[in-house]
């Protein structure tokens, strides 16, 4: 398939990667002319790309003062995890009451594989993919879209933090336990497991950000 994306999309994509990779200092202003020159495109194209990312909440626009990489406070992190708990709990309920678990099973397999690899970034990515796969168990694209927004927010936080693979092996085991409980139809236990995991993850992220 030949590349059919627009210039705006490619610029937005490049900026998105830079944001998630932590190449752009949070809070630092992104100058339109500077970006236009470095990408070799017109300023109007850069403006469109910036607006796309602003709509995704990755960038924040201050009127007449430019855009900056969105900065999230501890309060935001708590919100993100609470919101994930709401959405993923709904997915787990569906999974514990008959929904097809094979997508989550596959996601866990790739996560387990990535956890054994030596790239914390791809492992984290696979981990987040597993969590969205839980929401996807509901088969509702709008809820998945909402989960994706939360995932992007979370990646924004993680970008400003040194990545370290912490006990990925243990994490995978916990997720496997969650899937087992869902297969057994034990809704209450599955929800408890999910909440335990998210609470621990939140603490871990907040601790790392605070450091």
């Amino acid at each position: 398939m030949i590349d059919r994306s627009s210039t705006t999309d490619r610029v937005a994509g490049a900026l998105r990667e830079m944001i998630f990779a932590g190449d752009l200092a949070p809070g630092g202003p992104l100058r339109e002319v500077t970006l236009a020159e470095s990408f070799g495109v017109a300023r109007s194209t850069v403006r469109e790309a910036l607006q796309v990312l602003t709509a995704e909440k990755l960038l924040t626009r201050l009127p007449n003062r430019g855009v900056t990489v969105t900065e999230l406070a501890e309060h935001d992190i708590e919100e993100i995890f609470e919101a994930r708990l709401v959405l993923e709990s709904a997915g787990v309920r569906a999974g514990a009451t008959g929904a097809d678990l094979s997508p989550s099973t596959r996601a866990l397999a790739t996560y387990a594989e990535a956890a054994g690899g030596d790239s914390p970034l791809v492992a984290t990515h696979a981990h987040l993919e597993f969590h969205t796969s839980l929401v996807a168990l509901l088969g509702n694209s709008r809820l998945v879209a909402g989960a994706d927004v939360l995932t992007a927010d979370l990646r924004l936080v993680l970008a400003s933090v040194e990545r370290q693979r912490r006990n990925a092996r243990q994490q995978v085991a916990g997720h496997r336990r969650l899937l087992t409980l869902m297969r057994a139809g034990d809704e209450a236990a599955a929800l408890a497991e999910l909440e335990r995991h998210l609470v621990a993850a939140r603490a871990s992220v907040i601790e790392r950000v605070g450091a």
Copy 2:
């Protein structure tokens, strides 16, 4: 407060109102030059406004073919109501377990007042506001944002349907019952009441769209 909004925002706002009011035929293309002339602004400004609304999913962009008012099928309506059930159920749980219910109480009061008035549009708006207030009981701005997206989607559907105030009196009574159950801390009954209402509303919307 003097008006500090940008031209782009005002154009986007005007278009949004036109969409919700049903002034723009769904599926019909919106021509950039036509809009620029009718609003008396430059094409680039129109493009930015269109991109804002595209990011909100109110408009759909077909590459090199322009934007159209997003059309939603019956399947989308079912998704919207299922997603609302997930979010509002979480809010109702919070409400039934100690959250401050006064915002929802106020929202219901304005809805009751609007239901007595003679403008179906403001009554519908107040009704939707009440439902978002349920999600707001969680005190999580991200979940509220998600609920707002769903509300906008729903208003998009309603725009293509003749508005009729159907038994608004009865609706208000049902909502009052929901609040009472939450105050009593009867979580199960409150959730059941919410689900009953949403299922009925979904059926009503689908029936009207199909007609």
